[in-house]
């Protein structure tokens, strides 16, 4: 099995990184390209960019960010937030992203998952699920739907999703640890990999998540100290989880 992955997530609006990042030491505090490069050099296994404004114009803005990021990044990255159609996915992937993440668009039209997967392969399609009280939520976790979390994860996998990005709304932002029970229940119901998200506050939290899930998404724990990523990796490894070895660039 591949090694567990540590994935910093960057929230982007109008082409700029927003909220939660302590930009100390970075030249351009809101530049997604510079921050991406910084995390890549610091040992991130992968990155996720979430367009949190996600207006229709944002796909064009995001496309330009994606192209710039692809030119400097030598690790894979996923883009989500504004992907509502096959056309959006094509623009994002052909600009250089490895994968797109679908959230509410996949809920309202699940055939979107299959359409993108048959064009680029399942590995290019992540389905993001914001879960709370057993059901899927939309609008950044504010609106509950009637769709049950586990059956939706199963359906997404059957339709061709290559990974589930599972966020526990109750745990998100609290920094008190991941929802391990939810993560284990969803992962146990499907055969595709799962990224645990929501609640990372320490290396021990990440380690607990990585013992269950295939990857862990981290946000504020790295954003408050972008130079602390190598240290976080060391702590995770000291707690018994092997991450990928880092080498010198040629």
């Amino acid at each position: 099995m591949p090694l567990p992955r540590l994935i910093p997530c960057l929230d982007v609006a109008n082409g700029r990184v927003v909220k939660g990042v302590n930009f100390l030491g970075l030249r351009d505090v809101g530049d997604p390209v510079e921050l991406a490069k910084h995390y890549s050099d610091g040992g991130a296994d992968e990155l996720v960019f979430l367009d949190i404004a996600a207006t229709p114009d944002d796909v064009a803005t995001m496309t330009s960010v994606v192209a710039q990021v692809a030119d400097v990044l030598e690790i894979p990255f996923t883009v989500g937030g504004g992907v509502r159609s096959v056309q959006d996915a094509i623009r994002i992937i052909e600009s250089g992203a490895d994968r797109v993440s679908l959230n509410s668009a996949a809920l309202s039209d699940p055939t979107l998952i299959t359409a993108i997967a048959s064009r680029y392969g399942s590995q290019a399609v992540v389905v993001a699920i914001d879960a709370g009280d057993g059901v899927v939520h939309t609008h950044g976790g504010r609106v509950a739907t009637t769709t049950k979390t586990i059956p939706w994860a199963v359906e997404a996998a059957e339709r061709g999703a290559g990974e589930i990005l599972l966020t526990s709304i109750a745990h998100d932002g609290k920094r008190e640890g991941f929802d391990l029970a939810l993560t284990a229940a969803v992962r146990g119901a499907i055969a595709i990999p799962v990224i645990a998200s929501g609640g990372a506050g320490s290396a021990a939290h990440v380690v607990a998540a990585l013992r269950i899930a295939d990857a862990a998404l981290v946000a504020s724990i790295v954003h408050e100290n972008p130079s602390g990523l190598p240290g976080l990796r060391d702590e995770i490894e000291a707690l018994g989880i092997q991450l990928r070895p880092l080498k010198e660039r040629p």
Binding site: A70, V72, E74, I75, D98, Y120, G162, P193, E248
Partner: protein, 184 residues
């Protein structure tokens, strides 16, 4: 003339491969033009998309034939991910697809472990860790490396194919590409 030809098969994302080559100081061009493919010092067959549409594009443009001629002449070709799989004879993908057929072998859908197989994994016997993202894998007697029991590199004559993405494998991937570029 550019140092490297990156073969275009209509799938789009060749940007990362070209960025990695640029980092190593190599110029590149993206094309499916047969005569450019035959003449270039180095050819990379990249890996994004689906087998059927890739092969349709390679056959229509004449790039598939140019790659076979190039291979017969001993011209170096690096296949990445789908680009490696396309060099084999057949694939189970998309209900069955005939490949370029540079090497004997076939491509099957994986069923062990989590599929797609996503993430960083060590390659034996090379001892390096690279990034993988695939649901299909190669069956070939020309295997030169494996990872988690899956064939991840095949080599015969001037063709080297790898299942991982060197352009997405950080410093290790750049070093791999650098070695490929300096190979005679």
């Amino acid at each position: 003339m550019s140092d490297v030809v990156v073969v275009d098969y209509g799938a789009g994302n060749t940007r990362s491969v070209r960025a990695a080559l640029a980092h190593l100081g190599a110029t590149s061009v993206v094309t499916s033009d047969p005569s450019t493919i035959r003449k270039s010092p180095k050819v990379i067959l990249p890996g994004v998309g689906s087998a059927r549409s890739a092969m349709e594009h390679l056959n229509t443009t004449g790039a598939a034939r140019a790659l076979r001629e190039r291979f017969d002449d001993g011209g170096s070709i690096l296949g990445i991910c789908l680009g490696m799989q396309l060099a084999l004879e057949t694939s189970e993908e998309d209900g069955g697809v005939e490949g370029i057929g540079l090497l004997a072998g076939s491509v099957y859908r994986m069923s062990e472990g989590r599929v797609p197989r996503l993430g960083w994994s060590e390659v034996d016997p090379w001892g390096e860790t690279y990034y993988f993202a695939h649901s299909y894998a190669a069956k070939s007697k020309d295997s030169v490396a494996t990872s988690d029991g899956v064939i991840v590199a095949i080599e015969r004559g001037s063709f080297l194919g790898v299942q991982f993405h060197p352009e997405k494998s950080g410093a290790s991937g750049l070093s791999f590409l650098e070695r490929c570029l300096s190979r005679a």
